[in-house]
């Protein structure tokens, strides 16, 4: 977080310039202070700290930049490597000349400072000092002699006259101050030329120690601001043995000119000595200041290198980012043109490119949307078309199946998309005729064909009116096939029903109506002429009229039966158990004189169907009667009535089979066995199986007839299970 703050503050060019300026001022002051300037000498440590803090800040900034750059390189941020190269280049370009300048500056500094100091100058100064000493020594010797003389004069002076004598001696000797000091250091008497100076200048205790050893002292003493004085101390030896040993201190003013010259020599010598001593520390200080300048310059240069490299690389990085975005599919990226140079030209070209790309993509999207719209429209049309549509490619791979087609064929369209059409037949056996027809027409090379195809599926007999058209043109779709078909089962059935209804109506009208008058006429003829005829003719007439009446009856029955067949029934559909119904019907046929063996194999005990009990009973009667007639007179006659559940969980049905071991169906009638008036029996109305088929169709079931290889006929009926049955079975599963 702190690093981030440093980086944010540091990246602004203005704050950094201000910082550099401040550091530069601080460095100038530091350099001045190093030069022992009075003004900044006091601030030296503070300036040193400020500069150090600035350097630390800059160093932190540079480190943060370096770390950031390394991280960017590791993350492969665009422009990071280029920034690194530029930074390294800038830094090398800066470090080399700065280091050279630093090296030579340091050399000049060392030698320059050393060159200030000359052995001859030092010697000269020392000689000057020695000269001063020599000149002073003569004067000091005189003063000492004079003082010794004065001390001798004082030695015999009475204590009461000491002050006067002292005054007299001072005036005569020209001393500035004469003081007589007791053995314990107290001032006994004093005489000074300066009236204002009441307190005499006291000698140091070490000097008084000399006096105790009866030694003399002579020396120069700079006293306060008064200038240079010659101080002489001489013990005053009294001739009296009991007398206290005094010390006479005499202060002589050194002449002003001499004093000034001596002080000048002293000052120059001291200054030179000090400077000479300070030479090493000064070199160290200058080197340090120079090093700080070097480090500051280097750090500033490195920061500037970072800043410049970033500024240089920024447009390139932006371009790289934008190119990446374009590669990702974002064409809305626009870059701001910051300069009018080659990079600016590049940026403008990039903007043009993205603008064009965006426009062309927009057009593509619009076209795609139009295509999608058309496709959706087509799909909607196909989906709502009452005809089934299947389109295939040239290699018979299914490309599209509409809803009606999948419903009519009883298949899941999604399952077959992209697969060959032959897979229809392999997974749905009842579609084999459909597939065969299509394959046949393809192999025959029919470009446009129409065929009625009959299917026998789980939902019963189905007739499809198919029209196939081979797609022309060139390209991918060439050679493809579009099959359009209509389920005409219901239509055909309705047409047939209508035809039979018409036939029945005609029969009733045209045939049944004249039958009654015929019958009545025959009976009237018989009644009127039978009695009046002889026996032979009467018999003939009787037989003839009987025949007429019987035949008319038969015709009436036939017409009634036919009318019954053609009449649309009023079904009373109820949920019922088929097995129970079968058992009831079979029970009626079970009599002792029945020579036929009736076998029931009822498996589907709990299965329920929806049906009209009366019609189904009729169905069973017709079938059993047919079977009984077929096996009549045959040895070991046997009729098997069986029920069982067939089909899967979703499409389960009840199969009812009536099988006999009679002669079976003839092959020539097997195809039309359920048509009216198709029969293999010498007697029969020819409507038995037709009615059975009608009842099955009324119940939405399917019927088929077949002959066994070893003889015998089998009629197989499949009826749909009731919805309640599936609920029941669910409950059973649960229980």
């Amino acid at each position: 977080m702190a690093a981030g703050a440093i980086a944010r503050v540091g990246f602004g060019i203005l704050p950094m310039l201000v910082l550099f300026a401040l550091l530069l001022v601080s460095l100038t002051l530091l350099s001045d202070a190093t030069h022992n300037s009075e003004r900044f000498g006091q601030m030296y440590s503070m300036l040193l700290l400020i500069n150090a803090a600035g350097l630390v800040f800059l160093a932190a900034l540079v480190i943060v930049n370096i770390i950031g750059l390394i991280r960017q390189q590791r993350m492969n941020v665009p422009g990071a490597r280029m920034t690194s190269r530029l930074v390294v280049m800038f830094v090398v370009l800066t470090v080399v000349p700065v280091s050279i300048v630093y090296y030579f500056s340091l050399q000049f500094l060392q030698r320059g400072i050393d060159s200030w100091f000359d052995v001859r100058i030092e010697q000269g100064l020392e000689d000057a000092l020695d000269l001063s000493h020599a000149a002073l020594d003569v004067r000091l010797a005189d003063i000492l002699n004079l003082t010794v003389h004065m001390a001798e004069n004082l030695s015999d002076a009475a204590p009461a006259t000491l002050s006067l004598t002292l005054y007299d001696q001072r005036v005569r000797s020209g001393a500035a101050e004469l003081t007589l000091i007791g053995g314990d250091g107290r001032i006994v008497a004093s005489s000074s030329s300066d009236i204002s100076d009441i307190i005499p200048d006291q000698p140091a205790s070490e000097m008084l120690m000399l006096m105790r050893n009866r030694k003399h002292y002579i020396g120069l003493d700079p006293i306060g601001d008064s200038g240079l004085f010659a101080r002489a101390l001489v013990p005053v030896l009294s001739s009296r043995s009991d007398s206290e040993v005094y010390t006479l201190q005499a202060l002589y003013e050194v002449s002003e000119r001499f004093s000034l010259l001596a002080e000048s020599v002293q000052s120059a010598y001291t200054r030179y000595k000090e400077l000479s001593y300070l030479r090493t520390p000064l070199k160290f200080s200058y080197s340090l200041t120079l090093s700080i300048v070097l480090v500051l310059s280097l750090l500033a240069a490195i920061w500037a290198a970072f800043h410049s490299a970033r500024r240089l690389v920024a447009p390139v990085r932006d371009l790289a980012d934008a190119t990446h975005a374009v590669a990702e599919g974002d064409y809305s990226k626009r870059l701001s043109v910051a300069s009018e140079d080659e990079l600016g030209f590049l940026v403008r070209s990039f903007n043009d490119m993205t603008r064009r790309l965006a426009r062309s993509r927009e057009q593509t999207v619009r076209a795609q949307q139009q295509i999608e719209g058309q496709r959706a429209y087509l799909e909607a049309v196909l989906a709502n078309l009452s005809s089934g549509v299947i389109s295939m490619s040239a290699d018979s791979v299914v490309r599209a199946i509409n809803r009606t087609a999948s419903k009519s064929l009883g298949i899941d369209a999604r399952q077959f998309l992209g697969r060959e059409m032959a897979s229809f037949a392999s997974e749905h056996a009842h579609l084999a005729p459909f597939v065969d027809a299509v394959t046949r027409h393809r192999s025959q090379g029919d470009n446009s064909w129409q065929e009625e195809i009959a299917l026998l599926g789980a939902s019963g007999h189905q007739v499809l009116m198919c029209r196939g058209t081979v797609l022309g043109g060139q390209g991918k779709r060439a050679g493809g096939l579009v099959i359009v078909f209509d389920d005409v089962t219901t239509l055909i059935q309705a047409q047939r029903d209508a035809a039979w209804g018409e036939v029945a109506r005609r029969l009733a009208h045209e045939i049944k109506n004249p039958l009654t008058p015929i019958q009545l006429s025959a009976e009237r003829i018989r009644r009127r002429y039978l009695a009046s005829m002889d026996a032979e003719e009467a018999e003939l007439l009787d037989r003839a009229t009987h025949t007429i009446v019987n035949q008319v009856d038969a015709m009436k029955k036939m017409v009634n039966a036919f009318s019954e067949y053609a009449k649309a029934p009023n079904l009373n559909m109820v949920v019922m158990n088929l097995n129970q119904l079968v058992q009831e019907v079979l029970d009626l046929y079970r009599s002792s004189d029945l020579e036929v063996q009736l076998i029931e194999q009822l498996d589907a005990d709990n299965d329920l169907i929806e049906g009209d009990a009366g019609r189904l009973r009729q169905l069973l009667h017709n079938l059993i009667k047919n079977a009984l007639e077929a096996v009549r007179g045959m040895p070991e006659a046997r009729i098997i009535v069986s029920t069982c559940r067939v089909g899967g969980m979703e499409n389960s049905q009840i199969e009812l089979c009536v099988e006999d071991n009679g002669p079976g169906f003839e092959a020539r009638v097997l195809e039309n066995i359920f048509e009216p008036y198709v029969s293999t029996k010498p007697k029969g109305s020819g409507l038995g199986l037709a009615i059975v088929k009608k009842i099955v169709e009324e119940h939405g079931g399917t019927i088929s007839a077949e002959s066994g290889e070893a003889g015998g006929a089998l009629v197989r009926i499949r009826l749909l299970l009731s919805a309640e049955n599936s609920l029941l079975s669910d409950k059973q599963v649960l229980s």
Binding site: Y44, A204, E206, Q266, T270, L278, S285
Partner: protein, 205 residues
């Protein structure tokens, strides 16, 4: 006689600030400096309190003290090369609080400058507070004179009433007054780090 006498109830803030600044510079230079062998040569300088006592006369409390100053080899070399040294003798009268920080009630700083005088071949000791000066031919005598506090009037009010007081003394070489080039070395060299501990005693009533 006393250059600076102030009554205050606070810690010596200026002194603390100076200390912090000095330590910071020392730390910095220690980090920068690459030749530590140059700055730690010779024997170290020592300042210690030899004798101190207070007495009371009618007009107030008086102090007399003697610091013993031994110059380090570097400092001695500097003095012999005419570099002036400034010694500071700090005197504080501290009011003792039982529960709070002790507060400095009175503080004096005696400044003594020691310099070699080539012409007279003597060492000058200037009392910068009083403006007096003494000349000594021997360095030892000069240092003794520099470490002497004589008849210092601490306060005119008697301290034997009211709260408890203690007196503390410390002597040090003022590095900040050295010539700038030497100061840089003085910051990092133990040779120049001449400062006594605080000597403290409680006033007996």
């Amino acid at each position: 006689m006393f250059a600076e006498a102030r009554l205050a109830g606070t810690l010596p803030v200026s002194w603390v600030a100076a200390l912090i600044r000095r330590r910071a510079v020392v730390l910095l230079l220690s980090a920068v400096c690459c030749s530590p062998s140059q700055v730690c040569a010779g024997h170290p300088g020592i300042i210690k309190l030899e004798d101190a006592h207070t007495w009371r006369i009618d007009d107030g409390e008086y102090l007399e003290a003697q610091f013993s100053i031994e110059l380090s080899s570097g400092a001695e070399e500097a003095v012999r090369n005419a570099v002036p040294l400034l010694f500071e003798l700090q005197v504080q009268v501290v009011e003792i609080h039982t529960w709070l920080w002790d507060s400095v009630d009175i503080e004096f700083t005696e400044q003594r400058q020691l310099q070699y005088h080539a012409l007279s071949e003597s060492y000058q000791v200037k009392d910068l507070n009083a403006g007096t000066q003494g000349n000594y031919s021997r360095l030892d005598d000069a240092l003794r004179a520099a470490g002497k506090i004589k008849n210092m009037l601490l306060t005119e009010q008697p301290l034997d009433r009211g709260p408890d007081y203690s007196i503390r003394l410390r002597g040090s070489l003022d590095v900040e007054s050295l010539p700038t080039p030497v100061r840089l070395i003085a910051y990092i060299s133990s040779d120049w780090n001449m400062v006594s501990k605080w000597y403290k005693w409680q006033l007996v009533r």
